[in-house]
């Protein structure tokens, strides 16, 4: 029981942490000042959530690792984030469509977790859910704006959707950590599909592709994120400021 709860906390924490890193890459590069600030704010929420999840994972693991040790000193194959969040930030359409797909997932997942029996898990989920609602409102809004915007923004949003769609499959495959993952697919599609329709974006066809990030089998992109995020603690172990 404890080990699968610990795995679940790692998975939640790593999703938030890695997507937070990818969003933070927009700092100083946003398409407009407001979006620059929005990306930074959302990244901050996600890193804060990651801290809560990873701190819990460290306590459950019982090997004396705190959230910093888990974030800065694990190897790539120990990370449990889904592959979708580690893909390079791409253009702004890619960033927005990825977030829209992820935010919708967070909303249905956190809602379910907030009602669960484990008090600590439920508390972090309930807190994160409130933030996820705001993130979703932002990413759904921008998906509309880009999809139903200019010819160029539509092309980019559709292209992003095509590239990302295959990676969403991983979120709903049941395993020992989340045996009911499949039950979230319906509620998730109920959030995502109306937004895509209104944004005049075509739903991509499902394929047999299955990414493996949650099992620690990552794309070649995660290593670069970790190299940047971890180098200071690796170079100067125990550094504090």
């Amino acid at each position: 029981m404890t080990s699968s709860t610990c795995e679940l906390a790692l998975r939640m924490g790593d999703n938030a942490l890695i997507l937070g890193q990818r969003l933070a890459e927009w700092l100083g590069h946003g398409p407009q000042l407001e979006e620059d600030i929005a990306s930074a704010n959302i990244a901050l929420d996600l890193v804060g959530q990651a801290r809560l999840w990873l701190s819990l994972a460290g306590r459950l693991e019982g090997r004396g690792r705190d959230e910093d040790a888990l974030a800065y000193l694990r190897e790539q194959n120990e990370f449990r984030n889904c592959t979708m969040v580690e893909l390079p930030k791409g253009d702004y359409a890619f960033t927005i469509v990825r977030r829209m797909l992820f935010d919708a997932y967070q909303r249905v997942l956190l809602e379910r977790m907030a009602g669960g029996a484990d008090g600590e898990i439920a508390a972090i989920a309930a807190k994160s859910k409130k933030e996820a609602d705001y993130h979703w409102r932002h990413s759904a809004d921008w998906t509309l704006r880009l999809g139903d915007g200019t010819k160029e923004s539509h092309r980019r949003a559709q292209d992003a959707l095509e590239r990302l769609w295959g990676y969403t499959h991983e979120l709903f495959v049941p395993d020992a950590v989340d045996p009911e993952a499949d039950s979230l697919r319906g509620p998730w599609r109920e959030l995502v599909e109306p937004v895509l329709r209104e944004a005049t974006l075509a739903l991509p066809a499902d394929s047999a592709f299955l990414s493996g990030g949650r099992r620690g089998v990552h794309s070649e992109h995660l290593g670069y994120v970790l190299a940047e995020m971890q180098f200071l603690q690796r170079a100067y172990p125990g550094a504090r400021w």
Binding site: E34, E35, I37, A38, A40, N41, I42, L44, D45, L46, V47, G48, Q49, R51, L52, G119, A122, A123, I124, A126, K127, S128, K130, E131, D133, Y134, R137, H138, D141
Partner: protein
């Protein structure tokens, strides 16, 4: 010794220095023991960077007041809500130029300009200068302002 709640009421939020941490509902519980005190606080947003400053401030101020041992613990449930912000603090926010949050209702409300009171305002961005605020503009007096988001 001065009551711990009274001391805590004198600590303001570092990002909104006109309201205290007790008015914001960040302080959840104060438990007194012989010579010591434990303060339970709850973060507003998960990533709010002010929470660490607030923790330190609580420890410093209570120790200065003579409490030998001060412990700060974080509680997450129930999750912090803007509904916990005291009515007096809402007026202070408004005077400070921040439109106070309405009751939690994410998707339907108009925001009143804290400067001229006009209801004709528009949202510039969902995310403003801090995690807890959105950026608005008044269409009557044309001034930009912050809106404390209902959470």
């Amino acid at each position: 010794m001065v009551d711990a709640w009274q001391i805590l009421a004198g600590i303001t939020d570092p990002e909104i220095p006109v309201v205290s941490i007790t008015e914001l509902g960040i302080v959840r519980e104060v438990t007194q023991a012989a010579g010591g005190v434990e303060v339970a606080i709850t973060p507003t947003y998960s990533g709010c960077p002010a929470i660490h400053m607030i923790e330190q401030e609580i420890i410093d101020r209570l120790k200065q007041a003579g409490y030998a041992e001060v412990r700060v613990k974080t509680v997450l449930a129930p999750a912090w809500s803007t509904d916990w912000i005291a009515p007096a603090a809402r007026d202070k926010l408004k005077d400070y130029g921040i439109a106070p949050p309405g009751r939690v209702n994410l998707f339907a409300r108009s925001v009143e300009c804290p400067r001229c009171g006009a209801a004709r305002t528009e949202r510039v961005s969902e995310f403003g200068s801090t995690a807890c605020k959105a950026h608005y503009r008044c269409l009557a007096c044309l001034e930009p302002f912050d809106f404390f988001k209902p959470l």
